[in-house]
C-alpha cells in the first residue's frame, strides 16, 4: 500500500483517528508521518505513555471548555457515577474502576481502546446470558465485516448471501 500523503513510498505507519465518533484510518510512509509530528517509533502498547499524552490533551481541552453537559461532548462527567473513579485516576493508572467506567468515560476511553487495539467492535464470543439484542448486534458486526471482505474480494455471490443473512437477523431492517 502506498502512502496516502506522498503516494510514492510504501505506507508503514497505520493510524486510526476518531473524528466525530467515527474511526478513520490513515496509511502513511515513515517520512510523511514524521513530518506530521507522529512519533513513529512509539511502542503502540505503551499505555502509560499514551495516557500521559491523552492527559496533556485533556488538560488543554479543559482549559478551553466550560463544564460539559453529562454524556455529551468530548469530555463526560469527571467521576464515574457507579464506582466513583475519577478521570484523573484512570489516566494516571491506565486502569478503569468498573465496567460502567467504559460508558462514563466513553469520550476518553474509545480513542484509547482504538489506538491500543486498532479496532472498535467486538467480533468474538458473546455470553449465553446476553440479551438477543446484544447477540444480534455482534452477529451483525461480524457479518458486515465479512460482507466488506467479500465485496473487496469481488465475491459477489458470497456478498449477496451475507446481505440476506444480515436482513434475516431479528429486528434488522436491512439497510445500514
Amino acid at each position: 500500500m502506498l502512502c496516502q500523503n506522498c503516494h510514492q513510498n510504501e505506507a508503514t505507519v497505520h493510524l486510526t483517528q476518531i473524528v466525530d465518533g467515527k474511526a478513520e484510518k490513515y496509511h502513511l510512509c515513515e517520512a510523511c508521518a514524521e513530518q506530521k509530528g507522529i512519533d513513529v517509533h512509539a511502542d503502540p502498547m505503551d499505555l502509560s505513555g499514551m495516557m500521559e499524552k491523552l492527559k496533556h490533551q485533556l488538560d488543554h481541552l479543559k482549559d478551553e471548555m466550560a463544564e460539559p453537559a453529562v454524556s455529551a461532548g468530548p469530555a463526560g462527567p469527571a467521576t464515574c457515577p457507579s464506582c466513583g473513579m475519577t478521570r484523573t485516576e484512570i489516566l494516571k493508572k491506565g486502569r478503569l474502576g468498573c465496567d460502567r467506567c467504559y460508558e462514563s468515560f466513553a469520550a476518553e476511553m474509545l480513542p484509547v481502546v482504538v489506538s491500543l487495539q486498532h479496532a472498535d467492535q467486538h467480533l468474538g464470543k458473546v455470553p449465553r446470558r446476553a440479551s438477543v439484542r446484544m447477540r444480534t448486534s455482534v452477529e451483525q458486526a461480524r457479518l458486515r465485516r465479512e460482507l466488506d471482505q467479500a465485496v473487496a474480494a469481488e465475491n459477489y455471490e458470497l456478498a449477496a448471501k451475507l446481505r440476506d443473512q444480515i436482513k434475516a437477523l431479528p429486528g434488522e431492517g436491512g439497510s445500514p
Binding site: P44, M45, L47, S82, C83, M85, K93, G94, R95, L96, G97, C98, D99, R100, Y102, M109, V112, V113, L116, Q117, H118, A119, D120, Q121, H122, L123, G124, K125, V126, P127, R128, R129, A130, R133, M134, S137, V138, R142
Partner: protein
C-alpha cells in the same frame, strides 16, 4: 528416571522439543461491581464467594491465596498456575484448580476472574476449547460485564473484547545463537503478536525460553486470533529447526562445546544460581535435541528446569533456605541426576578423566 525407548524419546522431542506448552487465559468481570483494584474488601469477598461457588463443580481444589505462605504462592507461580501479580499479598485473592492442574481460575487478580487452560506442546485450539467450556460453565451461574461493542469489559483496556490472551512457550536457542531472534521479535510486533522471555525481565530471556502471544484482543474472533497465532508459532518453530540444523552443520564444534561445558558444569558445580542452572540446562537441551549429548533424555531436562527453581527446591527440602544454601542444594540436586551418568560418548567429552 527409567530408561526410555529411543522412539519414545524421538516422539517427545518432536512434540515438545520447541513448543513446550500452550495456554489460553480469559479475563472476565462480574457486572455492576467495581474491579478488584477498586473494590472494597467486602466486595472482593463477595466476588470470591460467588466465583468459588460457581467453579466448585469444575475446579474443586480451591484455596485462599491471601492465607497461603509466600513459599506456596511462589510454588504456584513457578508452576504457571498464578500470575506474578498474585505473588503479592492481595486480599481475597483465590485460586480454583482442577485435579490435573490444567485448568484454573484466579479470583481477584487484576480482573474478577482470570480463567486459564494449559496444554502440553502446541495445542492452542485445545486449550481454547477447555477455557471456553470452563467459561460457559461459570457463566451459567455468573453475570458477566459485557458490551455489544467492546465485548468483555476488563480493568485494563489492553484486554477488552475477547479478554483472551493465548500463548505458546517456545525454546529458541537456535534463533538466539544465530542472532535471528531480534528481527523476529520486531516483526511479530507489527502483526499484533508479542514475544517476551519466560524468565527474567525485559528482553533478557533466560534459558532461551520465550512466550509468544497475541497482543490484540478486540476486533477479531477468538478462532481467528488462535489461527493466526498458531500459524506464526509453527513458522517460528520451523525457523528454529533450520537455525539448529545450520548450527550443527556450520558451527558444530561451537555447539558441541557449549553442550559439553553445560553438562560438565551441571555435573560438577557445588554452587549454582537459578539463572545459571536455567542457562546451562537450556544449552544441554539444545545438545540433546541435536543428538550431540547422549545418556540424558529431554523429559529429564524439562523436569529439572522446574525442580531447580527456588520454591520447588525449598518445598522438596521441606524448609526455607538462604541464597547460598539454596545454590548448594540446587547444585547437589543437579549433580545427583547428571553427575553419575554412564561415560560420555561425544568426542569432546572423551577427554574427561
Amino acid at each position: 528416571m527409567s530408561p526410555r525407548a529411543p522412539d519414545e524419546d524421538a516422539a517427545y522431542r518432536e512434540a515438545y522439543g520447541i513448543v513446550l506448552s500452550s495456554r489460553v487465559r480469559l479475563a472476565r468481570n462480574l457486572r455492576g461491581l467495581p474491579f478488584p483494584d477498586r473494590a472494597p474488601p467486602e466486595i472482593r469477598a463477595e466476588v470470591r464467594r460467588r466465583v468459588q461457588a460457581a467453579a466448585r463443580a469444575a475446579l474443586p481444589f480451591q484455596e485462599l491465596l491471601a492465607d497461603a505462605p509466600s513459599l506456596r504462592r511462589q510454588m504456584l507461580f513457578e508452576d504457571h498456575l498464578i500470575s506474578r501479580h498474585l505473588l503479592e499479598d492481595r486480599p481475597e485473592a483465590a485460586l480454583c484448580l482442577n485435579e490435573a492442574r490444567t485448568q484454573a481460575v484466579m479470583i481477584n487478580e487484576e480482573d474478577h476472574l482470570r480463567i486459564q487452560a494449559l496444554r502440553p506442546g502446541l495445542a492452542l485450539r485445545e486449550a481454547w476449547a477447555d477455557a471456553d467450556a470452563l467459561d460457559d460453565a461459570l457463566e451459567a451461574q455468573l453475570d458477566y460485564a459485557f458490551s455489544s461493542s467492546l465485548g468483555y469489559l476488563t480493568s485494563c483496556p489492553t484486554n477488552v473484547g475477547t479478554g483472551m490472551r493465548a500463548s505458546a512457550m517456545m525454546h529458541l536457542p537456535g534463533l538466539v545463537l544465530q542472532n535471528e531472534m531480534e528481527p523476529i521479535a520486531n516483526g511479530l510486533g507489527k502483526i499484533g503478536l508479542t514475544v517476551r522471555g519466560r524468565w527474567g525481565e525485559g528482553t533478557a530471556a533466560l534459558g532461551h525460553m520465550f512466550q509468544v502471544s497475541n497482543q490484540l484482543t478486540l476486533g477479531l474472533a477468538e478462532e481467528r486470533i488462535l489461527a493466526d497465532l498458531e500459524e506464526i508459532v509453527k513458522e517460528i518453530a520451523e525457523h528454529e529447526r533450520n537455525a539448529r540444523e545450520r548450527l550443527k552443520r556450520e558451527r558444530k564444534i561451537f555447539v558441541e562445546d557449549l553442550a559439553a561445558r553445560a553438562r560438565g558444569v551441571l555435573a560438577a558445580a557445588r554452587l549454582m544460581t537459578a539463572q545459571e542452572a536455567l542457562e546451562r540446562l537450556s544449552e544441554l537441551r539444545l545438545g540433546i535435541a541435536l543428538g550431540l549429548v547422549k545418556g540424558i533424555a529431554l523429559p529429564q531436562v524439562d523436569r529439572l528446569l522446574l525442580e531447580v527453581q527456588p520454591a520447588h527446591l525449598q518445598t522438596a527440602a521441606g524448609r526455607l533456605m538462604g541464597t547460598e544454601e539454596r545454590d548448594a542444594a540446587r547444585a547437589a540436586r543437579l549433580r545427583a541426576e547428571l553427575g553419575r551418568r554412564p561415560p560420555a560418548q561425544t568426542k569432546s567429552e572423551k577427554r574427561t578423566p
